[in-house]
Amino acid sequence: MYRYDQYDQQMVDTRVAEFRDQTRRRLDGHLSEDQFRPLRLMNGLYLQLHAYMLRVAVPYGTLSSAQMRMLGDIADKYDRGYGHFTTRQNIQYNWIKLEDAPDILADLASVEMHAIQTSGNCIRNISSDQYAGAAADELVDPRPYAELLRQWSSFHPEFLALPRKFKIAVIASETDRAAMLLHDIGIRIVRNDAGEIGAAFYVGGGMGRTPMIAPLIRDFVPLDQLITYAEACLRVYNRHGRRDNKYKARIKILVHEMGKAEYTRQVEAEFAHLLSQDIEPPLAELARIKAQFADPAYETGLADEIDLANPAFARWVASNTHAHKAPGYAIAVVSLKPVGGIPGDASADQIRLMADLARDYSFDELRVTHAQNIVYPHVRKADLFALWQKLNAAGLATANLDQIGDIIACPGLDYCSLANARSIPVAQKISERFAANGKAEDIGELKLKISGCINACGHHHAGHIGILGVDRKGTENYQLLLGGSEGADCSLGTITGPGFGEDGIVDAVEKATDVYLARRESGERFLDTYRRIGMQPFKEAIYAKESVDG
């Protein structure tokens, strides 16, 4: 994985010193909150519902054991013994003291981490496929391109005051595991008919109050023009994006209102101009980065067989492992969704244990997924049982990946000052309901996502089943959506009808899954059945008269 060079380290260390001074001046009264707020936000420090909250960047979700261990230590030393992994592959701490924040940033810098650009109207953490560099189905490892974009976008003076925040995802497989089409810019690394590697650009996707799927604006950008093209996309947005209305300020609104054709025309014109300005980093820099993402030293001659005699282990292997490109290896996923648990939360001890296990079983590497889980990207199949035993002893071996209990949920009103309703209790009740009724495995793949407000941090638009919490005259109310997908078959969910109370929404979800179980055809996922039979059978079941309590 990528290691900082002297410039990276110097930039991060300088920022820590700068923020330490800014914090001192805030505490001694030389800076007002109005002056300090943008400075702390540039360093990922929010004032949230209960306290200051620090969001730490995990570039494209990749972590070393040492970095993961530091995240656990910070949870103990400065927070309340846990952290929350987010849908942007980051981690958040909920109980930070302002006077501790510079020390936390210094600790992070000691392991090549920071919280820069995890807030504000700038280019945020670049996200990617959590199986990058390991998946059997990828064209190339997308992370070197994500890293190149990270370096380009970090402190980019032209793009630190965009009309609104800006999110980029990079993938390199046909299977989209990063919700790429729901980003401001989605980049898919592709091979053209001539056999050359390049990038397809999708621009103007997003969730929030106006969800949109990003249209393809260019199917092939040569690799030695990747940054130049991204710069052109941002420049046109920065020039024309609306600053008068924050709800219409994202690039998706610009592309929609300007029209894909006109936006693309302007990007191409800007691109042509920028090509004459020679702003592209030399390919030697990309080569330098790529060298740091070389495959680990896989053993050869390993057996592919796994002893599945233990039924619980067999279930975990079936649901929580994924095909690896190297014979004898597997990708293993730790679900941070125990039955009745808080999606994405992990204790300091669990975080440190996951770090140790990465050192012992996965070439010192972990990934954070946008679904709020943790990945061991390179595990010998022969080691899976030992890994599972240690995870199981720590409550980290829930076998539910991509099942209804593997719920994405934003922090909701329990933690977030923007939220209108709580997300976590609904997630807990649903996971408990489906653990008790035993239907989860039979249902199979069903991606359920919950947001506590229209900002959609819980990706409810993209859930096979989505839930949106709203405030109805001071009471929490939950809308149900069906038919969303974040994958290559990207689609946006449709609201079923009137909302429900907290218990009613759990009943409604079960009724929807019962329709699926009754109507599914061979091989169909919940989403496939919904797409085949449409909304009406679900509505009829969900709104049978006694079920509506909202």
Partner: protein
């Protein structure tokens, strides 16, 4: 009644104006009437509190209770981690929020 809340500048903890200072316990919040903005400005200048604002509250037999659920969750702590709330020993503390 009108009550004044904000966050402690240094710790970030949710605090409530009790008539003479800031309390962690909303039950002790004072009715600030029309004086909330004046108190808030004075306390911001004194660097004790950050981002103060006035909300609606109601007097109950158990003390002051914020009118809106969001403020009740701010007052108690996360309902899903009562061990981290102001009433970690009370398993029914979440009922007060709802």
């Amino acid at each position: 009644m009108k009550i004044l809340t904000g966050n402690d500048l240094r710790s970030g903890a949710v605090v409530w104006w009790d008539g003479s200072g800031w309390s962690l316990h909303v039950e002790q919040a004072a009715d600030v009437g029309n004086d909330g903005d004046v108190i808030a400005a004075r306390e911001v200048a004194a660097r004790t509190v950050v981002s103060p604002y006035v909300i609606d509250g109601e007097a109950t037999s158990a003390g002051v209770r914020p009118a809106h659920i969001k403020e009740r969750i701010r007052a108690l702590g996360p309902t899903v981690r009562l061990d981290l709330s102001l009433k970690p020993a009370d398993p029914t503390a979440g009922d007060w929020v709802i």
